[in-house]
Symmetry: C2
Subunit: 354 residues, 2 copies
C-alpha cells in the first residue's frame, strides 16, 4: 500500500487526534460538476460510466482537483450487486433506477446466486486499483455498497418507491422469504466489499438509504441484523492497517444506540439528527459523520459558513467527527457553494482540535 | 351540544379510564372506499367536494356506516387556508396539490391577509354544523388544520416537494421573511380552528406533515414554536366541556419530549417511532395516537391482527392511547383490511383496560 499523505479522514474515524475536522461529501463526484456532466455525456449512459474503470476513475478524481477534500469515494452505484445477479439495471431519465427483471416470485429468490466480484463485478475492483494508482496516496479512497434491506427494496419494487408496498407486504406476510433474500444479499455485499478492500480501498461505507422507512422492530430484524453480519464478514484487519467501516441509515436517528453496537467504527447522520445529542448518545463507541442539510447548499456562502460553524460547534471539541452532508449533494447546487462549505470546514475546525 | 353516546376517543385523549382503546384512521373518509369514489365523481373535482357542505358531510359519515369507528373527522383539505388567502388551490391528477399564485416575492408575503373563517372559509364551519346535526352525538367529530410550517412549504414551493428547496432557502437566507409568513399563518390557523370549535367539533388536530424535514433547531424555531402559539390561542375551554388538541409531526420521533411541553393533550406518532419508548419518554404529560404502518394494511387480515396486537401490547396497560395509523390510509387498500384492523382493536384492546 502507498502511505497516505493525508490520513486525517481515517484518523478521525478511528478517533485519533487530528489537526482539523476532515471533510468529504456524499455524491461529491456527480452531476453538480460540469466536468462530470461532460464525461457522463461521453459515456452515453450512466451504467456505461459505472462499468468503465477509466471513466469511473476520472470522475472519482474530479472533485479532488477542485476542492480540498480529505477523501475520495469510488464512483459507482448502490445497485451493482442486483445487476450482477441478473436483474438488468437501467436508468430512466428523471425517474431513477429500474430493473428489467425484478423479484416477482418465490422462485426468483430461490434461484438468486452470489455474483463473484472479480467476475461479473470486476469493473469495480478494477476501478479501485486504477484510482489508487492515480491517487498515489493523496487522500484515502472509500469503497461502498448498498445495504441488503436497501437493495431488496429496489429488487422487489422494481425501482424507486415512495411507500415500499411490495417489499413490505413480503416483510409482513412472508418474513421467511425476505430473510432468504436478505441473507443472500448480505453474503454478496460482504464479498463485494471484501473485493474492494483487497483491491485497495482505505475505508468502506454501507448505505442503508431506506432503513428509515421501517418500524424500530423491523429495522433491527431486517436491516441492522444484516449490517452487523456483514461487518463480521469484512476483512478489515489487513497486514499493514485496520480499515474503518461506516454505517449510514437515512432516517435512523432514533436508533443510534443500537447502530453503535454493531462493530462499525462510525455512523453517518442525516441532517435531522442533532449531532450534539448523537455524540452524547453513542459516547465513545463510534465516530460520527455528517450532517449538513443538503438543501443548505442552496443558501448563500455566508449562510453556509454559519451552518458549518453550527455543526462543528454542536459536535464540539476533539476527534471523532468527519464533516459531510446528511445526504447526497443535489445535482443543481452551484459548485462554488460546495467550495464554501469545504473551505469553512478547513478554516473553522482547527480550534476544536487544540 | 348533543351529549356524546360514545366518548371513549375524548376520554382516552384526556387519559380518563376507558373500557377499550378507541380507534379511528387518518383519511378514513377517502379514496379506498367505493362509496367515496362515487361522491367524488359526482362532485366533479376534489375542491368541489371540499367546498360543498352536503357532500363533505356525506363522505365524512361514510366510514362510520361501514366500521365501528370511535371518531369522525371533518372531510376537508389541509390547504384551505392558503386557498382562502388567494393562492388558487387546485389538484392535478396523480401529482397532488398546486397553487396558481404561489409565494414568489417578499411583497407576496407582506400583502397576505387573514381570511375570515366565516366568510371565505364558511364552507368549513357549515360542514361542521351539518355533520354534527347528522351525527347526533354518535361519536365525536375531529376538526383539523395543516400546521403553519406545512402550509408554508406548499405556498412557497407552489405544490408538493421532495426537498423543500425554495422554502428552506428562505429559511436559511431570509428567516425574517419566513417568520412573517409563519406568524400570519399561525393567526389564520388559530382563527380557523376556533371557527371549527364554535361550529361544534369535539377535538382538533394539527397536521405538521413536513416538520420532519427540518433539523432539530429549525423544527423548534419554525414549526413547534407556532404550534405552541396556536395552542395558546385556541378556545379549548368551552362552557360545557374541554376540547383536547392533538399535534402530529410526521418524522418527529426525535422531538417528542419538546412536543409534549406545548400544551397539546396528545401527540400523533408515525410508524417509525416505537410507542412503548414514546410513552416512557412523554410520561404522563400527553396521550398518544397511532401508530400502525399504513403499508401493513396491504398484508393479510391475520397479519394485520398480529400487528394491531403488537402495538396495543407495546403501549401497554391503561388509558391514553388512541389507535390509528402512523399516516393516512393508502387509496388502494382493500376496505376489508381496514375492517380487520378496526375489529382487532375492538377485540384485543379490552384486556389493557381492566
Amino acid at each position: 500500500m502507498t502511505t497516505l499523505k493525508n490520513d486525517c479522514f481515517i484518523r478521525a474515524l478511528l478517533k485519533q487526534p487530528v489537526g482539523r475536522t476532515p471533510v468529504w461529501m456524499m455524491r461529491q463526484a456527480g452531476r453538480y460538476l460540469p466536468e462530470y456532466r461532460r464525461v457522463r455525456e461521453q459515456a452515453g449512459s450512466f451504467m456505461n460510466l459505472c462499468t468503465n474503470p477509466e471513466l469511473a476513475c476520472e470522475v472519482t478524481l474530479q472533485p479532488l482537483e477542485r476542492y480540498r477534500l480529505d477523501a475520495a469515494i469510488l464512483f459507482s452505484d448502490i445497485l451493482t450487486i442486483p445487476d450482477a445477479m441478473g436483474l438488468g439495471l437501467h436508468f430512466i431519465e428523471g425517474e431513477g433506477p429500474r430493473f428489467s427483471h425484478p423479484i416477482r416470485t418465490e422462485q426468483d429468490i430461490h434461484k438468486l446466486t452470489l455474483p463473484d466480484p472479480e467476475e461479473s463485478l470486476s469493473y469495480v475492483p478494477n476501478a479501485v486499483r486504477l484510482i489508487q494508482r492515480e491517487l498515489q496516496g493523496r487522500v484515502p479512497l472509500i469503497g461502498f455498497s448498498g445495504s441488503p434491506w436497501t437493495l431488496a427494496t429496489y429488487m422487489v419494487e422494481g425501482g424507486s418507491s415512495k411507500d415500499f408496498r411490495k417489499v413490505k407486504t413480503m416483510l409482513y406476510d412472508r418474513p421467511d422469504l425476505l430473510h432468504e433474500l436478505l441473507g443472500k444479499l448480505a453474503d454478496a455485499v460482504a464479498a463485494y466489499l471484501n473485493a474492494q478492500i483487497t483491491a485497495g480501498v482505505d475505508a468502506v461505507m454501507l448505505f442503508d438509504t431506506w432503513g428509515g422507512s421501517l418500524t424500530t422492530g423491523q429495522y433491527q430484524e431486517f436491516s441492522l441484523r444484516y449490517a452487523r453480519q456483514i461487518h463480521g464478514q469484512l476483512k478489515l484487519k489487513q497486514a499493514d492497517r485496520t480499515l474503518p467501516a461506516i454505517l449510514f441509515t437515512k432516517g435512523g436517528g432514533l436508533w443510534l444506540e443500537a447502530m453503535a453496537e454493531t462493530g462499525y467504527a462510525a455512523l453517518g447522520l442525516d441532517w435531522q439528527t442533532p449531532i450534539a445529542d448523537a455524540r452524547r448518545r453513542v459516547g465513545d463507541k463510534v465516530a460520527l459523520q455528517g450532517n449538513l442539510d443538503p438543501v443548505a447548499l442552496y443558501a448563500s456562502p455566508a449562510t453556509i459558513r454559519t451552518e458549518v460553524n453550527r455543526i462543528l460547534t454542536d459536535f464540539g471539541h476533539g476527534s471523532g467527527h468527519v464533516f459531510n452532508l446528511g445526504h447526497g449533494v443535489h445535482p443543481d447546487i452551484p459548485p462554488e457553494h460546495v467550495g464554501a462549505m469545504i473551505e469553512a470546514v478547513h478554516e473553522l475546525s482547527p480550534r476544536f482540535h487544540v
